[in-house]
Symmetry: C3
Subunit: 269 residues, 3 copies
C-alpha cells in the first residue's frame, strides 16, 4: 500500500487537479494552503448560483459541514448531484455530526441524496452516521458491528453505503468494506490546532482528483497529514501551537515520495 | 487577584470546557486556535437551525459582531436566549459598535433581549454602548459617569447592566460595578495584528466556561492575551507582524500558572 | 515612478486610511493583516444593512468576488454606489471571473452599475472581463487588442472602462490607457500560498485610500506585494509554504521607502 500511496503523490504533483470545496470559514484558509502545498489547486465557492458549475470544472468535490447553514447545504446538494452525474469523486467531512439535530439531519440528507466516495471524520462523527436510519440499498449494520469500535464502524459503513470510510484519531482506520487499513502516523499536538481534520479531508480530495482509487486516496490524504504532523513536531517540539501549525504546512509542501516510503506506517488491519 | 487568575488557568486546562462561538469569519481561525491554546475546546456554529442546540452543550457562549448579518444576528439571539435559560455565561464582543447604525442597533437589541455576562470591547465600542438608550432595570448613567474615561464607563456600564465590562487598550479596565481592576500587560505590536481583541473575548469565554466568576474570567482572559503579547514581542522583536502573530499563539499555548504569577500586572483601580 | 511609489508608502504610513472590504472568507484574515502591515486600517463588513454606511466612513472600498453570494453581491452594489457618490476609490478584484456564469454575470453587473477605479486580477480573469459585452461609453476593444496579451488587454480595458487595469502574473502589467507600466518583482513561491492576489488588491486599496493617484496606487500595491515575496523567499528559502506565508506578512510590515527604492523594478512598457 505504501508504495502505491507514494506513487500517487508524484502523480498528484504532476497533475495539479482542481478541487472544489464547500467548506467552513474557520479553516478554509488552512485547507486551501494545505491543498496547494500537496500540489493541487483549490477553489472555494458555495453560492447556489454557481456550486454545480464549479464542480463541473473540478476533478473532485469536498463537502465540509463545519459552519453549515441552509444556504450552503443547498449548495452542497446541487454540487454533489452534479458531481454524481459527471462521476467526479465526492469527499464528505461530516464535522460535528451528532452535536446538533441540524447536523445529524444534514448528513442524513446528504447521504440519502448523493453518492459519496469517501466519508472522513472522527470516531464520534462516524459513529453518529453509523446510527442513522438512512434508507440505502446497502446491507444494514448488524448489532455486532455497532460496537463502538473504529474498525467495525468503518467496515460496516463502507459495506452499507458503498463508500470508503476513514476514521481518524490516534490510530486512523480506513475501509472500503473489502479491505481495512490502519495508519499509525500523526502526533497528538495536531489536536491542539483547529482544522487538521478538515485539511486531511482536503488532501483526500486532492488525491482523489488526481485519479487515485478511493481507498488509496483516503489512505494517502490521511497518511500525508499524519506524516506532516510528525515532521512538524520534530522540527518545532514544544515551541507552541502557532509554530506547529505553520510547520505542518511547511511539511506538506515539502513532502515527497521518498518521505512517504520512509515514514508511512500503513498496515492491513 | 493574580493568584486567583493563575489558579483559574490550571482549572481551565483540567476541564477543557466547550465554548460556542457565533463569530466573524476574519478572525475565526485565530480565535479557535487561541481557545485551543489556552486549554478549552471551541465550536463555531451560526445557523439559526442549530445555534441554540450548540449553546445547550457548551459551557459558555461568545457572541462577536465582527461580520454580522441579519442571519447571524438572529442566531445570536436564539443562542443567547438558550444560554440565559440554562445559566450559561454569555460574552459579548460588540465589534464596531458605533461604526454603523446596524451595529449600534444590533448591540442595543442584544443587550435588551439577553442577559450578558461580560461585555468586552475597546473604549470606542463601549463608549457607544454607554450612550445607548436601552431600557434596563439598572441605574441610569449619570452625567458625571459619562465622561470619556475608561474607568467611569466600565463602572457605569457594569452598574447599569449588571454585567462585567472589560475595556481593553493600552491599559485594560474591568469592572463589575463593585470592583474595578486595571491590567497593564500587553504590547503595542498587538494593534498591528487583526483579531487580538476577538481572541481576548474568546479567552474570557474559555475562563467563564471553566467556572470562574465573571470578574475573574474577564481579568484572566484579558491578562492572558496581554502576557502572550509581551512574551511574543520578547521572542520576535521587530521581525514583523506575521511572526509576532504566530508567537502570540505559541505563548498562549505555553502559558502556565507560574508565568501568570510572574508576569500579570493586575491592580485594583 | 519608483520614487513616487516610495513616497506614497511614507504618506500611507502617516495617514493610516480606513479601507472597507467586502471580501471572501478564505483570505480575509491575510488581507486584513496585510493591510495593517502596510500601515492602513481594514474593516470587513458585508451586510446589506451596513455596507453603504461603512463605505461612507472609509477612504477606499475593495470588492473581492472570492466567495460571493447573492447577499454579498447586493452589498457590493450598495457599497459601490455610495463610494461613487462620495468619490471614494473602488478597487475590484474579479476572483474567478470566467470560472462560472455567476461570476461572469456578477463582474458584468458590477462594471455596468459602478465606476471602478482599479481592476486587479490575473490574465485569465481580465481576459474574461475584456470579452464581456458590457454597455459602456468607452471605446470598444478592437480585434487586434483582443490578442491574449497582458499589455494589450490592460490598455484596452483601461481605455474602454476608464479605470486602471492591473494584471498580475510572472510580470505585472498596469495601465490607465495613457501609460502602461510593467513590474518585475515577486517570486514563484507566491503562487503556492492562497490570497497573494487578494492581498495585492487590498494593498492597492490602502494606497488609493491614502490619496495616491490610481495608477500610482495600483503600481505601489502590486510592487509592495512583489517585493515582500522576494524578501520572504530570501529569508525562508525552501523551508516551506507555511513559513513563506508568514514571512510575506513580516516583509510587508517592515517595508519602507528605502526598500522600495532599492528593490522595485517598475518600467514604462
Amino acid at each position: 500500500m505504501t508504495e502505491y500511496v507514494a506513487m500517487e503523490l508524484t502523480k498528484l504533483r504532476a497533475k495539479t487537479p482542481l478541487v472544489h470545496f464547500i467548506t467552513n470559514y474557520v479553516t478554509a484558509n488552512d485547507v486551501a494552503n494545505a491543498v496547494l502545498a500537496i500540489g493541487a489547486s483549490p477553489v472555494m465557492a458555495d453560492a447556489i448560483e454557481e456550486a454545480a458549475d464549479m464542480t463541473s470544472i473540478a476533478s473532485a468535490l469536498v463537502l465540509n459541514m463545519g459552519t453549515l447553514n441552509h444556504r450552503t447545504v443547498a449548495a452542497m446538494l446541487a454540487a454533489g448531484k452534479r458531481a454524481n452525474e459527471r462521476h467526479i469523486p465526492v469527499v464528505l467531512d461530516p464535522v460535528g455530526a451528532g452535536a446538533s439535530a441540524f447536523r445529524t439531519e444534514t448528513v442524513k440528507k446528504l447521504l440519502a441524496e448523493l453518492r459519496v466516495s469517501v466519508l472522513r471524520g472522527n470516531l464520534s462523527e462516524l459513529s453518529c452516521v453509523s446510527g442513522l436510519n438512512v434508507a440505502t440499498k446497502g446491507v444494514d449494520v448488524s448489532a455486532e458491528d455497532a460496537e463502538n469500535d473504529a474498525r467495525a464502524i468503518a467496515k460496516s459503513l463502507a459495506d452499507r453505503f458503498g463508500f470508503v470510510a476513514a476514521i481518524t484519531g490516534s490510530m486512523d482506520v480506513i475501509s472500503d468494506g473489502q479491505r481495512t487499513i490502519c495508519i499509525q502516523n500523526g502526533h497528538k499536538e495536531m489536536t491542539k490546532v483547529t482544522g487538521t481534520g478538515c485539511m486531511a479531508s482536503g488532501l483526500v480530495g486532492a488525491f482523489a482528483g488526481a485519479g487515485a482509487g478511493m481507498l488509496t486516496a483516503a489512505a494517502a490524504g490521511v497518511a500525508a497529514m499524519g506524516i506532516a504532523g510528525e515532521a512538524a513536531y520534530e522540527k518545532i517540539g514544544e515551541t507552541g501551537t502557532g509554530s506547529f501549525h505553520i510547520a505542518l504546512l511547511d511539511a506538506l509542501s515539502r513532502l515527497d515520495a521518498g518521505m512517504f516510503l520512509e515514514r508511512a506506517r500503513i498496515y492491513e488491519a
